[in-house]
């Protein structure tokens, strides 16, 4: 039987095995923490369908108890559709001297409350409407710094007016 001897040169296969082990462990760690996309195309589609259906439902609903003050008179706008109220609000802002405070309290606030009730609690939103003139109004949470924001817009048709009016809803996961 050969006598056993010690030599550093004889350790090469053990060192190779340790190098292999290290590489395999690094590979395993990478695989363990690899993340597949959390937002699938279906999740984005789901958000798109929700955003579009919500804007559509909001604009085509009617609201009771909306009004504004003008020359010491209260003008009631009961059972008008939301899109009619938005256009009326923008028209009044563009063309008349009705006080903004009256419009905010009498029209924009009920619009805001209606949209807040409609939007599911898992979403935050921002709503903006503007005319081709200078008028615009906005309510909801600020969008700055948000990721994965879905945006839907609709033109509001007004046969009696040459101006165009647009409504935009942006939603994101709260």
């Amino acid at each position: 039987m050969n006598r056993l001897t010690r030599s550093d040169e004889g350790q090469s296969s053990l060192i190779d095995a340790l190098i292999f082990f290290s590489i395999a462990m690094i590979g395993s760690l990478i695989l363990a923490f690899v993340s597949f996309p959390s937002s699938s195309p279906e999740a984005k589609e789901s958000m798109r369908v929700y955003g579009e259906s919500t804007l559509d439902s909001f604009l085509h609903s009617t609201l009771s108890r909306t009004s504004y003050e003008y020359e010491n008179e209260t003008i009631h706008l009961d059972d008008k559709t939301t899109s009619e109220l938005i256009v009326e609000n923008l028209y009044l802002r563009d063309n008349t001297d009705v006080e903004n405070k009256s419009l905010i309290e009498g029209i924009e606030s009920p619009l805001n409350e209606s949209l807040q009730r409609l939007i599911h609690p898992q979403y935050d939103f921002n709503f903006t409407a503007w005319s081709s003139g200078n008028a615009s109004f906005n309510f909801g949470q600020p969008v700055e710094g948000r990721e994965e924001v879905f945006s839907a817009s609709q033109e509001l048709h007004t046969p009696d007016d040459n101006k165009t009016y647009t409504a935009n809803l942006r939603i994101w996961l709260a």
Binding site: F21, F36, T54, S61, S114
Partner: protein, 162 residues
């Protein structure tokens, strides 16, 4: 580095066997992590497929002629909402191969609200095991038309599972 081969090195059992064990252990761990990653990927894909089915189902409810007012998608007739039974909805949707619950919540500022729920559920009380093969909740918004001067906003929540 040039390897020197002679008989001065450590004899087999003291070097080659430990090296072999290390290689086997490393290989087993690496293969296990690949298997686990593939499993997670397949689970994601399966959830995604079910999510697509759920979306299609929610869209079918939203466009069901049994509910629509004058055929407009997303605009439900208040009378139809009140009169429709779960069995009729299930039949009109060709008996889907999963369970469902559709909830309509009227969130308008009118005093009369039109809330409704339709479902096709297992007869026993459900447990976590009922959701094993997938569960998805889809949120949509719809209108409920009472008459031309009264159109409500409503949330529609569609939950499907199998």
């Amino acid at each position: 580095m040039k390897r020197k081969m002679d008989d001065k090195g450590v004899v087999g059992f003291y070097e080659d066997v430990p090296a072999l064990l290390i290689v086997v252990v490393a290989t087993v761990i690496f293969l296990a992590s690949i298997y686990s990653a593939i499993g997670r990927h397949e689970q994601k894909t399966s959830i995604s497929d079910f999510e697509r089915e759920a979306l299609e189902f929610a869209d079918a409810v939203r466009s069901s002629p049994l509910l629509l007012h004058e055929g407009e998608v997303g605009r439900f007739d208040a009378t139809k909402i009140q009169g429709l039974e779960s069995e009729n909805l299930t039949r009109s949707l060709n008996y889907p191969d999963f369970f469902y619950r559709v909830e309509i919540t009227d969130v308008s500022n009118y005093s009369v609200r039109y809330n409704q729920t339709w479902s096709r559920e297992p007869e026993h009380n459900f447990t976590a095991e009922d959701y094993q093969e997938g569960r998805k909740v889809i949120y949509l918004s719809v209108n409920i038309v009472v008459d031309t001067n009264e159109v409500h906003t409503a949330r529609m929540r569609v939950e499907v599972w199998r």
